[in-house]
C-alpha cells in the first residue's frame, strides 16, 4: 500500500468518472439513466463479498485461473539480457483475457435482472467470451461485428453461432470495430429495459473503464504474487499490448503504486506511425477527443472526424484507447510505444519456435517490444509481459503475410 493516498495512482476515477481530464460520461440522455443505474449497482456489487466469491469460483473452475507465470528460458537466453516472464492468460477458457471481464459483467447483469446481453467485437475474442458465458447462464446474446471482420474472422463467427449467439454483421460507417460499437450503442438505446451492454475493453462511458479494469486486475494481482514467489521481489518492467487497453490495464493497475516498476504499453504501429495514419497508435499518433462515451486520445482528422485505424491485429484495430491509459500517459506513470506489423510478425514466429507457444498477434506486439529492450538490460532485470491471447485465430492472417498457402 502507498504511504499516503494523495500520491496514489490507483484512486481514479473521480465521482464524475474522470481520470484527470479523461473519461467522463458522453452519452445521449436515453442512456444516461441506464449508466447511472449500472454505476450504482456495480458500486454495490464490488463491495459485496458474495459477488467476488461467485467470481472467484468461476475464475477457478470455469476459466482455469490462476494462469501461470512462466519463465521464458530460451527466449531469455536468445535475447541475452533481461529475464523474461510471461503471464499466461492465453491459457484461459476461450483463449484470451477477455473472459475475466465478461464473467464479471454477466454476473452483474444477472443481479440486475437483465435477460439480453449485447456486445461488440473486433477480432471476435470478446464476442466469443460473451457468447460463452451467455450460453453457460442461458442468456440471449447478440454480438455486433463489423462486416469486414465477419469475413476475415470466420472461425470466431462460427464459434459464436455454435454457442447460440446471434452475430450481426455491421455495415454502417465502414463496418469496423468502432462501427460495431456504434451499433451496439444504438441497440442499447432501443432496448433499454431488458438489455445489458457488455463492453469488451476499458473504454466507454463511466463506469465501464473502471469496472472492466477491476475485473481484469486479477491478471496483475496474480502476477504480483507469482513473481514474488518466483523471484522474491517485484519485476523491474511490465509490458502489455494495447488496443482499447484492457489486458494492459489489468496487468498494470496493481503495480501503479510500485514506483520501482517501469510500465510500458505497446500500441499497434501498423505500417508505421506517420502521416499516412495506417496504424492504431492513439497515444503515439492521436490527440484528445470524445468518442463512445469518453474523452481520450483518438485518431482523428483536423476537423474532429474519427479515422479508421489499421493494424495486422484485428484486436488492436480501434481508433481510441481507454481513458485511464490516456491519463497514465499524460502524467508519465506509464510509457507508451508503438510496434509495427512487421516487428510483431517476427516476434510471433520467434515465440513459436523458442517457447512452443503460438501467441495471438496482440501480445506479439508486446513481445516485439520486449525483444527490443531485453538485450540491453542486465541479466537480473525482471520483465513480465502479458501473453493475453493465443494465436489460433491468427494463423490464417499470419500465413497470408508469410506467403504460405493454407489451401492444402
Amino acid at each position: 500500500m502507498p504511504e499516503d493516498l494523495i500520491n496514489s495512482y490507483t484512486t481514479g476515477p473521480d465521482e464524475r468518472g474522470r481520470f484527470g481530464q479523461f473519461g467522463g460520461r458522453f452519452v445521449s440522455e436515453t442512456l444516461m439513466p441506464l449508466i447511472l443505474e449500472l454505476e450504482e449497482r456495480y458500486n454495490h456489487a464490488r463491495t459485496d463479498p458474495t459477488f467476488w466469491a461467485e467470481m472467484d469460483h468461476l475464475w477457478k473452475h470455469y476459466v482455469g485461473r490462476p494462469s501461470p507465470l512462466y519463465f521464458a528460458e530460451r527466449l531469455t537466453a536468445h535475447l541475452g539480457g533481461a529475464k523474461i516472464y510471461m503471464k499466461r492468460d492465453e491459457l484461459n477458457h476461450t483463449g484470451a483475457h477477455k473472459i475475466n471481464n465478461v464473467l464479471g459483467q454477466i454476473i452483474l447483469a444477472r443481479r440486475m435482472g437483465k435477460t439480453r446481453i449485447i456486445a461488440e467485437t473486433g477480432a471476435g475474442q470478446h464476442g466469443v467470451a460473451t457468447a460463452t458465458v451467455c450460453a453457460k447462464f442461458g442468456l440471449k446474446c447478440v454480438v455486433y461485428m463489423g462486416a469486414h471482420d465477419v469475413e476475415r474472422q470466420a472461425p470466431n463467427v462460427f464459434r459464436m453461432r455454435l454457442l447460440g449467439a446471434e452475430v450481426i454483421p455491421v455495415t454502417s460507417g465502414r463496418g469496423t470495430l468502432k462501427d460495431a460499437m456504434n451499433d451496439a450503442l444504438r441497440d442499447w438505446v432501443t432496448n433499454v429495459r431488458d438489455t445489458f451492454y457488455c463492453i469488451g475493453t476499458v473504454a466507454g462511458p463511466h463506469p465501464y473503464p473502471a469496472m472492466v479494469r477491476d475485473f481484469q486486475s486479477i491478471i496483475g494481482r496474480e502476477a504480483k504474487a507469482q513473481i514474488l514467489e518466483a523471484e522474491g521481489r517485484l519485476p523491474d518492467t511490465i509490458v502489455a499490448a494495447i488496443g482499447g487497453g484492457s489486458n494492459a490495464m489489468g496487468l498494470f493497475h496493481p503495480f501503479l503504486d510500485d514506483k520501482g516498476v517501469r510500465i510500458i504499453g505497446v500500441e499497434a504501429g501498423g505500417k508505421g506511425v506517420d502521416d499516412r495514419m495506417q496504424h492504431c497508435a492513439s497515444l503515439t499518433g492521436g490527440r484528445p477527443g470524445v468518442l463512445h462515451g469518453n474523452r481520450t486520445y483518438l485518431l482523428q482528422d483536423a476537423d474532429g472526424q474519427i479515422l479508421e485505424g489499421y493494424s495486422i491485429s484485428a484486436g488492436l484495430d480501434y481508433p481510441g484507447i481507454g481513458p485511464e491509459h490516456a491519463w497514465l500517459h499524460d502524467v508519465g506513470r506509464a510509457q507508451y510505444v508503438a510496434i509495427t506489423d512487421a516487428e510483431a510478425l517476427e516476434a510471433f514466429q520467434l515465440c513459436c519456435r523458442l517457447e512452443g507457444i503460438i501467441p495471438a498477434l496482440e501480445p506479439s506486439h508486446a513481445l516485439a517490444h520486449v525483444m527490443k529492450i531485453a538485450p540491453g538490460l542486465p541479466k537480473d532485470h525482471l520483465i513480465v509481459m502479458n501473453m493475453c491471447g493465443r494465436g489460433d485465430k491468427d494463423i490464417f492472417t499470419v500465413a497470408r503475410h508469410l506467403g504460405f498457402d493454407m489451401k492444402l
Binding site: 464524475r16 467522463g24 460520461r25 458522453f26 452519452v27 445521449s28 440522455e29 436515453t30 442512456l31 444516461m32 439513466p33 441506464l34 454502417s172 460507417g173 468502432k178 462501427d179 456504434n182 450503442l185 444504438r186 438505446v189 432501443t190 432496448n191 433499454v192 477527443g289 470524445v290 468518442l291 463512445h292 462515451g293 474523452r295 483518438l298 482523428q300 483536423a302 476537423d303 474532429g304 472526424q305 474519427i306
Partner: protein, 263 residues
C-alpha cells in the same frame, strides 16, 4: 430574447404550433444543401435544425448516418457548416437555426472558438446529443454565456427524479425524444407522447417540441396537437438521399408543415 424565444412567442400569439425541420449540412453537397435550407422558411418551417456531420453518429439511424457520410464525402467541414448558416443569414434574419450533432468536431475546434464563430454566423442554439447534463461545463454553460441556447433532449428514460437536472440549464425549448431508439426508427404514438409531454410541462415553462419517428403530415399534426411543435428529420433526409429535385423536397416539407400547423 433570443431568436428562438421570439419565434415561440410569435407562434403562441398566433395560436400556432411549431414545425421544426432537420437536414444535414452539406448533404448531398454544399450548394444543394444551401438551396434546401434557404427554401425551408417559405415551406413553412419555423425552426431549422442543421445537422453537423460526424463519422460516428451513435444516436442516429441509417438514414441520417448515410446523410452524414454523403456530406463528409462531399467535403463538408464544420467551417463550411458555419459558412452555410452565415450565407443563409444574409437573406433571413428571423428563422432560428439550431445546430445539431455530436461533441467531438466542436471539441476538436475548441469550444470558445466554436461559440464565437457560431454566434457570428447567426446560429441560435445547439443540440449536442452526447452531452448529458452531467457534462454541462463542457459546452452547455459556456454556450449560454456566449448567448446561445442549449437545447436538451428529454427521453422516455428521463424519470421525474432526473428531469430537473435535465431542465436546469436548458433554454430555448425542450426536445422530447418520443421513443427509446435512434432517429428514423419506430413511429411515435401521440397517445403515448401526450402524458409524457404533460409530465415534462409540469416542471418547465419552456416550449416543448417532439421528435423521432414522425414521417407524415398526419403524424406531425397528431404530435403537434399534444405538444408545442413537431420535428421531422429522417423523412426529409431520406428524400434528399434519393436525389429528389429540391422543389419536390420542399413541397414535401410544406406538406409536413401544414400538418403541424393544422394542430
Amino acid at each position: 430574447m433570443s431568436r428562438i424565444d421570439a419565434r415561440f412567442a410569435a407562434l403562441r400569439a398566433e395560436g400556432r404550433k411549431a414545425f421544426v425541420a432537420y437536414v444535414m449540412a452539406g448533404d448531398p453537397d454544399y450548394a444543394t444543401s444551401l438551396e434546401i435550407v434557404k427554401g425551408l422558411p417559405a415551406a413553412g418551417v419555423d425552426i431549422i435544425e442543421l445537422g453537423m456531420p460526424f463519422t460516428d453518429p451513435m444516436a442516429d439511424g441509417p438514414t441520417i448516418q448515410l446523410a452524414g457520410q454523403r456530406a463528409l464525402a462531399g467535403g463538408q467541414t464544420l467551417q463550411k457548416t458555419l459558412d452555410m448558416v452565415a450565407e443563409f443569414r444574409k437573406a433571413d434574419r428571423e428563422t432560428p437555426v439550431v445546430m445539431m450533432g455530436y461533441y467531438n468536431p466542436i471539441y476538436s475546434r475548441g469550444v470558445e472558438r466554436f461559440l464565437t464563430e457560431a454566434k457570428a454566423a447567426g446560429i441560435d442554439g445547439l443540440i449536442v446529443v452526447d452531452l448529458p447534463p452531467e457534462e454541462d461545463e463542457e459546452l452547455c454553460i459556456p454556450a449560454r454565456e456566449a448567448g446561445l441556447n442549449f437545447i436538451r433532449l428529454a427521453t422516455p428514460t428521463t424519470d421525474d427524479r432526473r428531469l430537473p437536472k435535465v431542465l436546469q440549464n436548458t433554454s430555448g425549448f425542450v426536445y422530447y425524444v418520443s421513443i427509446t431508439g435512434i432517429t428514423g426508427a419506430a413511429a411515435a404514438q401521440a397517445a403515448e407522447v401526450a402524458p409524457e409531454v404533460a409530465r415534462i410541462k409540469r416542471q418547465t415553462d419552456l416550449p416543448l417540441v417532439v421528435g423521432f419517428g414522425i414521417r407524415t403530415p398526419e403524424a406531425a399534426e397528431a404530435i403537434a396537437r399534444v405538444a408545442d411543435g413537431a420535428v421531422v428529420g429522417s423523412a426529409i433526409v431520406r428524400m434528399i438521399g434519393e436525389g429528389r429535385p429540391v422543389p419536390e423536397i420542399l413541397a414535401f416539407v410544406k406538406g409536413l408543415a401544414e400538418g403541424a400547423h393544422r394542430a
